[in-house]
């Protein structure tokens, strides 16, 4: 491979990292308190929920799909998880059941898309409302509060060096990065997203791959829901409203193409971190929330523009 091509692909990989670094340094130079371990840890822990969901979303987007229902799915799973907790179930069982519940929601999305040959955008637009509505119906619209004995427990308190939740997020990113690159299933996801007809021609089980990808996306949403419940100590049916956009934005900032065939889990993590950093930085520097939204939006648009330029050159 020529030097120039190599450099360019390196830059493409590093782009989101550089952006994160630049934003971090800018906020730090505006306010020296920003460069403390506390703030860094804060950013990391606050990213866990979005990043976990973004891992699943990355797979879905690489396979050429989209899941708009992920925010609602988190809320519904969250309510389910809180309900199980009030029943005094074993924590491990609760975790497993919630992840399985999320996976089931994802499998519904995948099956509807594949079996009925519907556009995932439309299917998940529908299930976004269905999941959200179901969460409200199940709770009568009021949050399920956890028993006080449970609410003290938070997954990101403690841990060696970093909170448990952050370790888990990093481990998942590593695991899924390896999966995408070094397993047949991973390469198949890319192939299906890049060109479904080619995948069919080559004898790949396209339908199974797609349903599995949505199922994994759902399982990740279930995991994010556990985190979310632990964070707020309740099962709130209105939680994570609009989070699907944060999740999708993280994946896109991380270099994924919405037309499929491209994307990286590590990139999605960096994208999620970038957005949390902006929010924190703006907060600490007294920049009003509306401006935070403007800046975040601008970063998303810039990420897409950079992606475009990269493709034109390649």
């Amino acid at each position: 491979m020529s030097k120039a091509t190599h450099l360019r692909s390196m830059l493409a990989m590093l782009g989101p990292f550089l952006a994160l670094l630049v934003v971090y340094v800018i906020f730090g130079s505006l306010n020296s308190r920003f460069f403390t371990t506390d703030v860094a840890l804060n950013i990391l822990t606050q990213t866990v929920i979005v990043a976990t969901a973004a891992i699943g979303m990355t797979l879905i987007i690489i396979s050429g799909g989209i899941d708009l229902s992920v925010g609602s799915m988190i809320a519904l799973s969250c309510v389910f998880c809180a309900w199980l907790t009030t029943k005094g179930m074993d924590p491990l069982m609760i975790f497993a059941a919630t992840i399985a519940f999320g996976a089931f929601c994802g499998a519904c999305n995948g099956s509807l898309t594949v079996k009925l040959k519907l556009l995932p955008f439309i299917v998940t637009l529908g299930t976004m409302q269905i999941f959200r509505g179901a969460a409200k119906v199940a709770t009568n619209g009021t949050p399920i509060n956890l028993p006080t004995t449970v609410s003290a427990w938070k997954p990101w308190m403690g841990g060696v060096g970093l909170p448990y939740g952050v370790w888990m997020m990093l481990a998942l990113v590593l695991l899924f990065s390896l999966m995408l690159r070094f397993t047949r299933f991973g390469r198949h996801i890319f192939a299906v997203g890049s060109n479904e007809l080619t995948a069919t021609l080559c004898g790949l089980p396209v339908a199974r791959i797609k349903i599995l990808v949505y199922t994994i996306g759902g399982a990740m949403a279930g995991l994010a829901a556990i985190m979310n419940m632990a964070k707020s100590s309740q099962g709130d049916p209105t939680t994570a409203t609009g989070m699907e956009l944060d999740v999708i934005a993280a994946v896109v900032i991380g270099g994924a193409s919405l037309s499929g065939g491209e994307g990286s889990v590590l990139g999605a993590l960096v994208g999620a971190l970038l957005m949390t950093t902006i929010r924190n930085g703006c907060g600490m520097n007294g920049i009003p929330t509306p401006w935070t939204e403007v800046i975040t939006g601008a970063i998303i648009v810039i990420a897409v523009i950079i992606d475009r330029l990269r493709h034109r050159k390649a």
């Binding site: 080559c202 004898g203 193409s257």
Partner: protein, 508 residues
């Protein structure tokens, strides 16, 4: 330094044209001369510099060094519009039509006649009618919306744009690539007419038969240099290909002695949804069977049904003595059958993945156990095919979209070879690729069926009869969904095939 006088016999002289992009030398030192009323063909592999040369001619790029004379005058266009004003019009492969504007608005686009601040509609109409008078086409009304017209008619608008400006030299960049057969013939007649009025034409094409039909002379480019200019009539295809690729190609269609082995495929009364109908065919190891027929006769549907991409409605297929009635593509690959799609970009390849990914996609199982694959081994295996088939690329990890059509097609063929299939179904394997890549693919097909250790069998669809007669042992003709028996090529002529294909005769 050239001077204006003394060269007026030439319509165009390009001399010592050199163009670099950074460290890449796109054009080394190119000369090109075109006479008035001449159709001059420009051929060369992708990346040989044809497009760059024509972009310099049409003002889209400026040459680093070199000179151009147009009708004896120094010619140095600032941009494409300036080039057109000076008499050089370019008809691009990708048409540049504004679909929402009318035909006449498109024709005068960029040089609209005005009266004060307003468009002078009367003059516009007059100019458009003048340009359209060359074409004599019923659909081509000045007030029609350009986007509503077919591609071939849109191409006429583009030609009309240059004619309305009085261009004396037109450059056609692969004008037939998106046209249907009858439109191609119409375009050829138009080019003949334009030629007769003294307009010069530079014609870029991958198709030697088009060059033979239209051009009087041709210039061959290789690696940014003009290696030869010849009279078309006295130059053989082998000579042209040899000049293009820079090595001696003795025979465009190589044919080692072929030995028929055991029966590998038996198709019995196969029928799909609409096509094919009742198709029976036997295929033996060590032979190439060609499927001729018109576009739409059901050739592609036949292969797709055979491969399980379309459902089998009736009949059965026996592969290596195992009979199946409702196969899936995955099973076919397992049985040792591979297919090459006629739609390289839409179906054949995953364009934003790497060359290695594309070559290994159907056979990922072989690259590691327990569902784990090794990218390093995938690249290594692909590198073998890159070398063997002469795929021009930087590395196996390069995105396949960066390759030329011919090299993409070689990679698509490599997938079948990497999978080590016994039976290769090739649907239009050389469509739209340059002649040098074609020659490589013909060589590969010959090797596949004559390999001493592992002779395999090939079914190939092609719309180009000389190709079929060149590479096949037997040919069968598809017409309205039914297939004739396969007849040895020595026993039939192209006329026999055409008679069946067009329905004038029922069997070979």
């Amino acid at each position: 330094m050239l001077h204006g006088s003394g060269h007026s016999a030439h319509r165009l002289i390009m001399r010592n044209i050199r163009k670099t992009f950074g460290p890449t030398i796109a054009l080394g030192k190119v000369d090109l001369e075109v006479l008035p009323g001449e159709v001059h063909a420009l051929v060369g592999e992708n990346g040989a510099g044809k497009s760059t040369l024509m972009k310099i001619l049409s003002g889209a790029h400026a040459a680093d060094t070199g000179e151009m004379l147009f009708d004896g005058m120094i010619y140095r266009p600032k941009n494409p519009l300036d080039a057109r004003a000076q008499g050089v019009g370019m008809i691009y492969q990708e048409l540049s039509i504004a679909p929402h504007l009318t035909v006449e608005e498109n024709i005068v686009l960029g040089m609209e006649p005005t009266m004060g601040p307003f468009i002078d509609r009367k003059t516009m109409r007059q100019r458009a009618m003048e340009a359209l008078s060359h074409f004599d086409h019923p659909d081509l009304k000045p007030t029609a919306r350009a986007g509503d017209l077919s591609v071939s008619v849109q191409q006429l608008i583009e030609i009309g744009r240059s004619l309305a400006m009085g261009c004396k030299l037109l450059v056609f960049d692969e004008p037939t690539s998106s046209l249907a057969q009858k439109d191609i013939e119409r375009l050829f007649l138009l080019i003949d007419r334009l030629k007769a009025t003294g307009i010069s034409i530079v014609y870029i094409s991958h198709f030697l038969e088009e060059v033979k039909r239209l051009a009087t002379r041709l210039t061959i480019l290789r690696d940014g240099c003009a290696v030869a200019t010849r009279d078309v009539a006295s130059t053989s295809p082998e000579e042209i290909v040899s000049l293009m690729v820079g090595r001696d190609v003795k025979d465009l269609y190589p044919r080692s002695s072929r030995q028929r082995g055991e029966k590998v495929l038996e198709i019995n009364q196969l029928a799909g949804k609409e096509k094919p109908k009742n198709v029976s065919l036997d295929l033996y190891r060590g032979e190439v069977i060609g499927i001729a027929g018109l576009v739409g006769s059901g050739r592609t549907e036949f292969l797709r049904t055979l491969f399980g991409l379309d459902p089998i409605v009736a009949g059965d297929v026996t592969v290596h003595a195992v009979t199946t009635t409702a196969p899936s593509p995955a099973e076919r690959w397992k049985q040792g059958i591979g297919i090459l799609s006629e739609n390289r970009k839409e179906e054949g390849l995953a364009l934003n993945l790497s060359i290695a990914d594309n070559i290994t996609l159907s056979s990922l199982k072989n690259f590691g156990r327990y569902g784990i694959v090794s990218p390093a081994v995938m690249s290594q295996r692909s590198a073998k095919w890159i070398e063997k088939l002469g795929i021009k690329c930087q590395a196996a990890t390069q995105k396949i979209s960066a390759l030329s059509g011919g090299n993409q097609q070689k990679a698509a063929l490599a997938r079948l070879l990497e999978h080590e299939v016994d039976i290769l179904l090739l649907d239009e394997p050389t469509r739209g690729i340059d002649i040098a890549a074609k020659a490589r693919i013909y060589e590969a097909i010959n090797e596949i069926v004559t390999d001493a250790n592992n002779p395999r069998a090939v079914i190939v669809i092609s719309s180009y009869l000389p190709e079929l007669f060149g590479i096949c042992d037997r040919i069968a003709v598809m017409s309205r969904g039914t297939l004739t028996r396969a007849v040895p090529v020595a026993d039939i002529t192209a006329e026999d095939v055409m008679r069946v294909a067009t329905g004038k005769s029922d069997n070979l």
